[in-house]
C-alpha cells in the first residue's frame, strides 16, 4: 500500500506546470500614470534624438548598441503621433511634454554553493566530517546562473505644470519595456518595438 502512496506522490510532483518556454514569454510592459494629469489637453511633445543609457543599481551594467536608436525612437514618435500629439523642436517651441527614452542593460549573476553534508545526510562517504567542513575548489569554478536583462523606459514629463519653486517636473506617464537580452540584435529590437506599441495600447487615457 505504501508503494501506491509513493507512486501517487511522485506522479503528483511530476505534474508541476512549466513556466516560460521562450524568451518572448518573459517580455513584459509596465505602465504607470498620474491619475490627476490632464492627458486630454496634451498637444505637443519633444523627443531627444538619442537613447540614454542608465546603469542599474544592481548587477553588472552592459553596453548598449546605439545603432538602433533611430529605429526605436521612430517607433516611440509614431505612437505619440498616433495619439494626436505633434512633435516640436524644443529649441523653438516649448512642448507640453518632454518624452525621454532610456535603456538599462544589466547582467545578473547568481553563484550557487551547496552544503554537501545536508544533501547527503548520513552517507558513509562523509563519515568523520560534520557541517563545519566545506569543500575547497582550487580553481575558479562553481555553479553560476547568468541572466542578461534589459529595460527600455519611456517617460513623459509635463512641462505645463513645471513647479519653479520646487524645481520639479512631473512624470505623468512612464512605460517600461522589460525582457531578457537573448538572441540577435534584430530580434531584440523587434521585441522592443512590440513592447513600445503595447505600452501605448494599454494606456487608453493618453
Amino acid at each position: 500500500m505504501g508503494k501506491v502512496a509513493w507512486a501517487a506522490m511522485v506522479l503528483f510532483a511530476a505534474c508541476y506546470p512549466g513556466g516560460a518556454e521562450t524568451v518572448e514569454d518573459l517580455d513584459s510592459v509596465t505602465t504607470q500614470h498620474d491619475a490627476s494629469a490632464s492627458f486630454a489637453t496634451l498637444r505637443t511633445y519633444a523627443l531627444p534624438g538619442t537613447i540614454q543609457e542608465v546603469a542599474s543599481a544592481n548587477g553588472q551594467p552592459l553596453a548598449m548598441d546605439h545603432s538602433y536608436d533611430a529605429q526605436i525612437l521612430a517607433r516611440v514618435a509614431a505612437n505619440l503621433d498616433a495619439i494626436g500629439l505633434h512633435r516640436v523642436d524644443p529649441a523653438t517651441v516649448t512642448p507640453d511634454v518632454d518624452v525621454l527614452v532610456t535603456f538599462t542593460a544589466t547582467r545578473y549573476t547568481e553563484y550557487t554553493s551547496y552544503s554537501y553534508c545536508d544533501l547527503w545526510p548520513g552517507w558513509s562517504g562523509f563519515d568523520g566530517y560534520d557541517d563545519s567542513w566545506g569543500v575547497y575548489y582550487p580553481y575558479a569554478s562553481t555553479s553560476v546562473t547568468v541572466l542578461d536583462a534589459g529595460s527600455l523606459r519611456i517617460e513623459m514629463l509635463d512641462q505645463r505644470t513645471a513647479n519653479t519653486s520646487t524645481k520639479q517636473l512631473t512624470a505623468i506617464w512612464n512605460a517600461s519595456v522589460d525582457g531578457v537580452l537573448a538572441g540577435d540584435n534584430e530580434s531584440i529590437v523587434q521585441r522592443i518595438e512590440k513592447g513600445i506599441d503595447q505600452s501605448f495600447a494599454q494606456s487608453p487615457y493618453l
Binding site: 500500500m1 501506491v4 502512496a5 501517487a8 506522479l11 503528483f12 505534474c15 508541476y16 506546470p17 513556466g19 516560460a20 518572448e24 514569454d25 518573459l26 517580455d27 513584459s28 510592459v29 509596465t30 505602465t31 504607470q32 500614470h33 536583462a149 522589460d178 525582457g179 531578457v180 503595447q198 494599454q202 494606456s203
Partner: protein
C-alpha cells in the same frame, strides 16, 4: 414530502441491515474543475490535488469529518494585470494553490462487505495562494477565505481488513474576503479508505 420520505426510509433500512460503519481515514488523489471567478483566474482543469479526511463515528452512521486538502490550478493568459506598481502586460503564468481545512458532519450508510455511501457538509476556511508570473516579476495575493464543502462518496470494500477503494466529489465554495473574489470549484477524488472494518455485532 412523501416522495422524499420513502427513499430516505429505504436508505435507512438498507444501512441498518448492513454492518456498522466505523471511524476511518480516507486519502485521495483529486481532480478539480474551477468555476465562476476561480475559472476566470485559472481556467484549466486541475489534475493535481489530494485530500486527507478523518471520519470519526459519533453515533450510528453519523460521523464527524475533519478534512485537509490541496488543489493546484494553473493557467496561461495574455493580458494586462493591474497591480499597485502599475499596469503590467505580458504572458501571465497564473497559479492558484488552494488549501482547504474543513470540519463537518456526514451520514455514512454501510452497504456491507466494507462498502459504504456517505454524504455530508464541511465548513471551514481555505488558504488561497494566488501567484502571477509576468516577465521577470511575480505578483501574489494570498489570504484565508471562509467556505463550505458539501461532499459525497462511495466506497467499495477490498476485503475484510477494512480497506476500501472510494470515489468522492465535493463542491467547494469560499466567500469573498478582503477584496479577493469568491472561489468555487468542483473536485473529484479517487483513493483508499483505511480502518473502516465492520464492527462485530454483539
Amino acid at each position: 414530502m412523501r416522495s422524499l420520505t420513502r427513499p430516505l426510509l429505504a436508505v435507512f433500512l438498507l444501512g441498518s441491515s448492513a454492518a456498522l460503519a466505523q471511524s476511518h481515514v480516507r486519502l485521495s488523489y483529486e481532480f478539480a474543475v474551477p468555476r465562476n471567478a476561480t475559472q476566470d483566474y485559472v481556467d484549466r482543469f486541475s489534475s493535481r490535488g489530494a485530500h486527507l479526511d478523518v471520519s470519526l463515528e459519533l453515533s450510528y452512521a453519523f460521523h464527524l469529518e475533519l478534512s485537509a486538502g490541496l488543489n493546484n490550478f494553473n493557467s496561461v493568459k495574455q493580458g494586462v494585470l493591474t497591480t499597485t506598481e502599475g499596469d503590467v502586460s505580458g504572458k501571465q503564468f497564473r497559479y492558484l494553490n488552494a488549501i482547504p481545512l474543513m470540519g463537518g458532519f456526514a451520514f455514512h450508510i454501510p452497504l456491507g462487505h466494507g462498502s459504504r455511501f456517505w454524504a455530508g457538509v464541511n465548513g471551514g476556511a481555505a488558504y488561497f495562494d494566488r501567484v502571477v508570473d509576468v516577465g521577470l516579476n511575480e505578483y501574489s495575493l494570498s489570504d484565508w477565505q471562509w467556505g463550505v464543502q458539501p461532499h459525497f462518496g462511495i466506497a467499495f470494500g477490498l476485503g475484510d481488513g477494512g480497506t476500501a477503494l472510494f470515489f468522492d466529489g465535493r463542491w467547494n465554495y469560499f466567500w469573498e474576503r478582503h477584496g479577493i473574489p469568491a472561489q468555487e470549484y468542483f473536485s473529484f477524488g479517487v483513493g483508499l479508505l483505511f480502518g473502516g472494518s465492520p464492527s462485530k455485532h454483539k
